[in-house]
């Protein structure tokens, strides 16, 4: 699904990622953990195509294609989805309008007919129920006046409707209380499928109690320094990131 090879990324003159290697197969759920400033969010931005970074070395192949060559919207239409750490507000644009425009942009790109308003409403209403959301949510402006939990749920709703192949969750647990976390995690779990992969970026282990990863990586100082099964997360929680850093050093 996704293959990152020797990826080096700088902001200005400052190197952030210093040779990241990562293979994600279809259907796998990967977690990337690491201390602040390790480059976790940079990785999610690079994969989704945010500007402001310089890629100095390495490659990213997605479904056999060179991902780094694609514009951000093309990546999205090819099935890359980023659930933002800080979802933006767009006043005056209703959630449902954004969702329909996005879905149809993706469908058109993939040679499918656009869905009409009626069919779209049917799709959306089903997903809203799944995420235990109020339908009124759909008609409010995108993220405007939403609570932290609502914003994150809205991100998962978008994933549920756009049905990406590669879902990147950037600190999806940040700012959530435990009830909201459970709902969001249930939403993510409902999206797990044999042809859909996840890359979860998180600081804390608690998200992984609810969304069980297949593989856990530790990113420290711009490199993946340790890769293991889900037990690694528990070990990290107990011993702290300094434990891994010491082991590597």
């Amino acid at each position: 699904m996704l293959s990152i090879k020797n990826l080096h990324v700088s902001v200005g003159d400052k190197p952030i990622l210093k040779g990241v290697n990562l293979e994600i197969k279809a259907g796998e759920v990967h977690a990337i953990m690491g201390p602040n400033g390790a480059g976790k969010s940079t990785l999610s931005h690079i994969l989704s195509g945010k500007s402001g970074y310089t890629i100095t070395e390495g490659s990213v192949t997605y479904q056999g294609k060179d991902l780094l060559e694609m514009d951000p919207e093309i990546r999205a239409r090819e099935g890359i989805f980023l659930a933002f750490q800080y979802p933006v507000e767009i006043p005056g644009v209703s959630n449902i309008y954004l969702l329909k425009a996005a879905l149809n942009a993706i469908r058109t790109h993939n040679g499918l007919a656009e869905v009409d308003a009626f069919d779209f409403l049917k799709i959306v209403k089903g997903k809203v129920k799944l995420l235990e959301m109020d339908e009124q949510f759909l008609y409010r402006s995108v993220n405007e006046g939403f609570s932290g939990g609502e914003k994150k749920r809205n991100e998962i709703l978008q994933a549920a409707i756009l049905e990406p192949s590669m879902c990147i969750l950037d600190e999806t647990d940040s700012g959530l209380d435990i009830d909201a976390l459970k709902v969001v995690a249930a939403g993510v779990n409902s999206l797990r499928a044999a042809d859909r992969s996840f890359l979860m970026i998180t600081h804390y282990q608690r998200l992984l109690d609810y969304i069980k990863p297949d593989i856990v990586h530790v990113l420290a100082d711009g490199r993946i320094v340790k890769t293991a099964g889900p037990e690694l997360a528990l070990e990290l929680e107990a011993k702290g990131y300094s434990w891994v850093e010491e082991q590597v050093a």
């Binding site: 990546r75 933002f84 425009a101 996005a102 402006s141």
Partner: protein
């Protein structure tokens, strides 16, 4: 400059689409303005004598005035003697009686503008008065309106057919001495629309006028007068375009609205005069005086404007709330790009008791443009319980433009409630990236964000106009699902 800023720049740098020139024979006065020119103009139009007197009075007063300089505008001096004050398509001496008689090239012009003056229009139920340079070329649907008792015709025709009505109302809202440009207009206006809705009549269709400046070096000075008699209702639409030219062209219009007891006028404008090129060369100078008088009790006037054109816009559609319980509304979207300058807003003058006004202004500045909101809310000492709500939002696109807000509030009645809210925001790279990450192109993303910003105003426009307005802003229509 980051890549997404470059994208924004290229998106807003779209070419002016209405910039064609129509090749037709025209009858044009040589440039220059004096009493003789005014007399000749009045004679050509076969006006009653009171009109010539009115014009000359205005002209004499105008000569004593100087251009207003208080606006946040940088204006090259205008040489009023280098402008031609009359230009009309030359086509027989008689005015066309039906569409068949209209120069096909002229009809083609309107088609390019998307204004078919034919069956389609009839189906759409819009009666159109099209002003091309200085003369009204055709007014459709006269028959149907006539049956309802509605008068909708070029003001030049109204001066011949209904001189007493014109005389009774002309200049009563905007006196010929009001301001420099209004005085000039009173002296030299060539045509425009006249509307009279009789007592108790709800106008059976939307009335519409399209203005276009075609000939070079001509000014356009149209005059619109709308009277809604007791208990009547009318919705009026106005659209404007001009071809691309290197020189600046002057447009100085006056619009007067009179609403009697329980009457309602809704006036919507989509203004797309040529804004000049990306270096600020050419473009229309748009100096317009629009004012409504809610003369009767319980009357209501609503101005909605979408302003995307003109090199310079100087325009403050206003309401004088004279009648008790009268209501004034102003909804505005003003978009400026490149070197465009807009100084626009409104005045709400509360005189009657329990008068209410609402102002919603959305300014969008892009490129190197300057966009100013200037508004006055005045509550007189007898306007018990007057209420005003003002909301003024500015959206900046890029980092080389400016947004300015000058709200003036004068209250002489302690029971008045005046509210003012203002925001300034920027299309952020984060918003753009978010939309792109959901699969939208940068172009669609900007459209969507701007569209969302303007939503409160667009929803006030009649449906067919809302579509045009959004297309004008380079937007796709925000569909309402469900």
């Amino acid at each position: 400059m980051s890549s997404s800023e470059q994208e924004i720049d290229s998106l807003i740098g779209q070419k002016y689409k209405e910039g064609f020139v129509t090749e037709i024979e025209v009858d044009t006065f040589p440039p220059g303005l004096d009493e003789e020119v005014i007399a000749k103009l009045s004679a050509i139009k076969g006006e009653p004598e009171f009109m010539l007197d009115y014009r000359l009075k205005a002209f004499r007063h105008w000569q004593t005035m100087s251009e207003p300089n208080w606006a946040q505008l940088n204006i090259e001096p205008i040489d009023y003697q280098s402008i031609s004050y009359y230009s009309a398509p030359k086509k027989d001496s008689d005015k066309p009686q039906s569409l068949d008689e209209i120069d096909p090239e002229l009809l083609e012009t309107y088609k390019k503008l998307g204004i078919p003056l034919d069956e389609q229009e009839r189906l759409a139920g819009v009666a159109v008065d099209a002003v091309f340079d200085s003369v009204s070329v055709a007014t459709t649907f006269k028959g149907k309106l006539h049956d309802a008792g509605v008068i909708f015709c070029p003001i030049s025709e109204a001066l011949k057919e209904h001189p007493e009505l014109v005389k009774q109302y002309l200049g009563t809202v905007v006196p010929e001495t009001d301001n420099f440009f209004a005085a000039l207009n009173a002296a030299v206006f060539t045509d425009g629309s006249f509307v009279y809705i009789p007592k108790g009549v709800r106008c059976p269709m939307e009335l519409s006028t399209y203005f276009r400046i075609n000939a070079a070096n001509t000014g356009q000075f149209e005059r619109t007068l709308i009277i809604a008699d007791e208990g009547s209702h009318v919705s009026y639409l106005e659209g404007c375009t001009a071809p691309m030219r290197d020189e600046n062209q002057l447009h100085a219009a006056v619009v007067e609205l009179v609403a009697m007891d329980d009457a309602e006028i809704k006036y919507s404008t989509v203004q797309n005069w040529y804004p000049g090129d990306e270096n600020g060369v050419g473009g229309i100078y748009n100096f317009v005086t629009k004012r409504a008088e809610c003369r009767g009790a319980n009357s209501k006037v609503s101005w909605t404007q979408v302003e995307t054109g003109s090199a310079i816009t100087w325009k403050y559609p206003s309401c004088i709330l004279l009648g008790d319980n009268s209501v004034g509304e102003f909804y505005s979207v003003a978009l400026t790009n490149n070197y465009q300058q807009a100084d626009t807003g409104t005045k709400m003058i509360h005189i009657g008791k329990n008068t209410r006004s609402t102002i919603i202004s959305k300014g969008i500045s892009a490129g190197k443009s300057q966009n100013t909101y200037r508004g006055l809310v005045r509550v007189g000492k007898n306007a018990d319980n007057a209420r005003n709500y003002t909301q003024c939002d500015s959206l900046l696109v890029g980092d080389k433009c400016g947004a300015h807000t000058f709200p003036y509030v004068e209250v002489k009645q302690p029971s008045a409630q005046v509210e003012h809210e203002a925001t300034t925001s920027k299309i952020s790279e984060d918003q753009l990236f978010f939309c792109q990450q959901r699969g939208l192109s940068a172009e669609d993303a900007v459209s969507m964000i701007v569209n969302g910003f303007c939503k409160q105003v667009f929803k006030e426009l009649p449906m067919e106009f809302a579509v045009e307005a959004q297309a004008l802003l380079g937007l796709s229509l925000e569909g309402s699902v469900g």
